[in-house]
Amino acid sequence: MKSMRKLNKVGMILSMVIGMIIAACMSPAAGPEVVESDEAAAPAMQETQSTLSIVQERGKLVCIGNSQLPGFGFLDSEGNFTGFDVDYCRAIAAAIFGDANALEVRPATARERFTILSSGEGDVIIRNTTWTMSRDTDLGMNFGPTTFYDGQGLMVRKELGVSTLDDLQGASVCVITGTTTELNLADQFAAAGVDYEAVVFEDFDQSFTAYEEGRCDAVTTDKSSLVSRQTTLSVPADHVILGVTLSKEPLGPAVRHGDDQWFDLVNWVVYATMLAEEHGIDSTNVDSFMGSDDPNIRKLLGLEGDFCAKVGISNAGCFVDVITEVGNYAEIYNRNLGPDTVFDLPRGLNSLYTDGGILYAPPIR
């Protein structure tokens, strides 16, 4: 019996030692990277401390993003985050710090993104997030201006001669299971009174490969991804994306409820990119506008009034830094999705209201 008790002691000591090792690994002494996290520590203090002041103390913006969506968020071959959504993260960082790289992109899955924002580990979600009523209310999000109007579309083989939903009577459709995409498909086909067979998959890679192999007549997901995937088909011209849109997918930034200053800041950085395009200001010619007499331009560029201070930004460059470092809406769009990219995605709804789209930024006044 005595020997067994000693054995217990050994076990106890061993487990204590290991516990201490683990504690040491987790403690701040583990390395310099924790220096910055001291300031980042305060999710629970958010009632007392504003998001902006947390971001400024930390010295960088933490943006909850996507690392797996072509054109919107991914690592380029050098390991830098790139994409349409990432550029909006960079724009906010540029406005606050005058440095678009004062940014950490926190990749997140669709499910965990809202939890991460709520727990205070991120400042803003810019991750192809659809603005819906339940997210706006139940989840406690505030949605900023839509940066990209997407919609669910259908791609079919040209040889089927399909042009409307009604032509798809009895067709099989590849779709990702457990998503709003699947529900929208069911709703729209039921409304049109068209019978179809859903072939469901876990992710879009599988779903699209199945379509490519001819296992279904049509494949459905957001139009922007359909366009990007069409370029990868062996003969892209054999396939066509139908004009019909099955759902509205307004994608834009989201922040936590309850910090209106931060919400305003995010909103106005997005509007600034649209206003810059409206006035023809881009990253290459912004300097030539610094002597402009147009009061709208003078306000946007901070030459008149102190509008950035109204959302708490102390960086004097503010929107000028956004335009120089990231660009106006057209530049961001073209760089990631426009004619110079494999997507060559038409602007469509994402044009300024003056060009037949629905991008309409309120004035700075």
């Binding site: 106890m12 797996q68 690592l75 050098e78």
Partner: protein
């Protein structure tokens, strides 16, 4: 019995030319009767179709350009290119330490040692490597050779212990090199672990997951056998709780929920460390159960004999019980460690760029859309190489320790 004897006698009467030739072997084993011949032909046809399709894919259809273009990303993730020299230094040192400890532990320049030193030279054959990379590989090979031969001239007494200290020192130096010291503008600016990625991160997670979970698992196994109710109950609760929960949920807890539970003002723990802690805690519970199996296989006589010799409990546990118990469960433990290595890919689901996470982000790069077959094939090959090396090393260890023979 008779038929077996007949078969044997048949074989013994075969003419000597057929007994030892390829044709003889083929006729005897593949075409001995009609059914056998048909089966052989069918299998050959099947193999031919599969192999020709696979080869056509590998050499004609596949666009391997995606691999060289993203090679740095696959190897080191977001680790800054300007600091890549630190990773090479880590590899040189690894070569030197392996060479040196080989001399200490084995002493001979045997077949396996030649195999090890050949690795850098085989890697040099990879066509898209730059001259700089090849030079780095030569230096690594030179470092391991130097480690081996220089150690031979040193008057070292306690060889095993020296090797262990060497390895420990290497780990410390490696972490300092990877992490960096000093100011942002200094010669070795800090690189936060969240920027470590690709193969580098997968290997580090697996290595530290294994080395940290092993002692914790042994302690839990001893704790579960303890006569002290508090320790026993706590060990049992821990083991059964962890084993009842999937690893992915522990990872999610660490990544998403941890910050909600911690007190205000608690510093944010690096996300890679959180993942490592989750993997370690998870693996420890399984190690504990495997080790318990080993402990229970030790007969009471061993405990009593140790007692009779006047060994304390500590001494008998360390010197008598554990060595035998652990030796008995080496195959199980290695199997578990290999599965831990593969389980590290789950961190890709919580936004950490391990090998799989990197693969998925490469697939989202508009330049490389639709190359999932190529990328996943390479990732699979990398995982296979390391998993197979682990199982090969464990088989050698078992041979040396005579597992299953005494």
């Amino acid at each position: 019995m008779t038929s077996a004897a007949d078969a044997n006698s048949d074989r013994s009467v075969l003419p000597i030319t057929e007994r030892y030739t390829l044709i003889g072997w083929v006729r005897r084993n593949l075409f001995s009767d009609t059914l056998n011949s048909l089966l052989t032909l069918a299998a050959l046809a099947f193999l031919f179709i599969v192999a020709s399709n696979l080869l056509r894919w590998a050499f004609v259809t596949a666009e391997w350009g995606v691999i060289p273009a993203n090679f740095n990303l696959i190897m080191r993730g977001q680790y800054p290119a300007t600091e890549a020299w630190r990773l090479w230094l880590v590899i040189y040192l690894l070569g030197a330490v392996v060479g040196s400890s080989w001399r200490l532990l084995s002493g001979k320049f045997s077949g396996a040692a030649r195999l090890l030193i050949a690795i850098p030279f085989v890697l040099m054959l990879i066509p898209f490597f730059s001259m700089a990379t090849r030079l780095n590989l030569v230096i690594t090979a030179a470092a391991s050779a130097a480690g081996f031969f220089i150690t031979g001239y040193l008057p070292i007494q306690r060889r095993g212990r020296t090797a262990a200290y060497l390895l420990l020192a290497y780990l410390v130096v490696m972490l300092i090199l990877l992490q960096g010291v000093g100011a942002e503008e200094g010669p070795m600016p800090p690189v936060a672990p969240i920027l470590w990625g690709g193969l580098l991160l997968s290997l580090l997670l697996a290595f530290f997951g294994i080395t940290l979970s092993f002692p914790l698992g042994v302690a839990l196994a001893l704790g579960r056998q303890s006569k002290l109710p508090a320790i026993r109950v706590m060990s049992v609760i821990y083991i059964e709780f962890i084993r009842g929960v999937p690893l992915i949920s522990l990872l999610f807890m660490g990544q998403v929920m941890l910050q909600l539970f911690l007190p205000d003002g608690f510093p944010l723990v690096d996300r890679v460390l959180r993942a490592l802690v989750a993997i370690t805690l998870f693996s420890a519970a399984y190690t504990a159960e495997n080790v318990r199996g080993g402990l229970q296989s030790i007969s009471r006589g061993q405990y009593e004999a140790a007692n009779a010799l006047g060994l304390s409990t500590y001494q008998s546990t360390i010197h008598i019980i554990l060595p035998q118990a652990l030796r008995a469960v080496i195959p199980v433990l290695v199997g578990q460690f290999i599965s831990l290595f593969k389980d590290t890919t789950l961190v890709a689901l919580v936004g950490i760029f391990d090998l799989l996470g990197i693969a998925r982000t490469i697939l989202a790069n508009p330049d490389w859309l639709g190359t999932q077959q190529e990328v996943y094939a390479i990732i699979a090959v990398l995982f296979w190489i390391f998993s197979y090396s682990m199982s090969y090393a464990s088989r050698r260890l078992e041979q040396r320790l005579g597992v299953g023979q005494r």
